[in-house]
Symmetry: C2
Subunit: 124 residues, 2 copies
């Protein structure tokens, strides 16, 4: 992985490491919001909320569009996709576990154990 | 989402927000490692590496097993699965985009002929 991607992932994962920021992304998943609307549900000052918004912006997770006197935020899912791709490397651990569990259950229910599935069934 | 899960996700995402810690998880994905082995590839003191290992341990991402005088670390993928589940809420944004692209390509392949292209959209 190149250095640039690595720095980007640092910023993305750190931005996600806060419940308020994750809740803001949840709001934006439903549609664009003004900075005021985005800050409203949280028991914090507008300045504190703006700080969170800036962290999300810094990670590329939200875009800010200035319309007259209103700053409108929208979700940019691209960094979430990068995080998802990184996690994808590890996905085999839990999907693999489910496969093992299934094999154990099948082995317990019937002897001899069934033959392995035909090739070409992978990647479901 | 309950408060407990939210705090756990904070800790998990923050632990992932560092290239050294992600590289350590990558090492552990290949199999268990002693603390010394895990620290070796990085240009940092054993104390600094141990700090990273403790952060990963705190997030539940690694387990430490004391065998005589050796501390052996192994990957616990469960917190990665939690992070993956959280990201799953947003997956529709990029899979949706691919679906739209596919629909556009399929629509282009079928008659009636498309309207004249918009200005600046010609060529690739």
């Amino acid at each position: 992985m190149v250095e640039h991607d690595s720095l980007a992932l640092d910023t993305i994962f750190r931005a996600l490491g806060d419940a308020t920021r994750r809740a803001m992304l949840g709001e934006l998943a439903a549609g664009e919001r003004s900075v005021g609307d985005l800050a409203a549900p949280f028991a914090m000052s507008l300045a504190a909320a703006s700080k969170h918004i800036k962290v999300l912006e810094g990670a590329g997770l939200i875009r800010r569009d200035v319309r007259g006197r209103t700053h409108v935020c929208s979700l940019d899912p691209a960094p979430l996709m990068s995080a998802d791709q990184w996690l994808g490397i590890y996905r085999r651990f839990w999907t693999g576990r489910l496969d093992t569990l299934e094999q154990l259950l099948r082995a317990e229910g019937a002897a001899p154990p069934p033959k392995p599935p035909l090739p070409g069934k992978e990647g479901e």
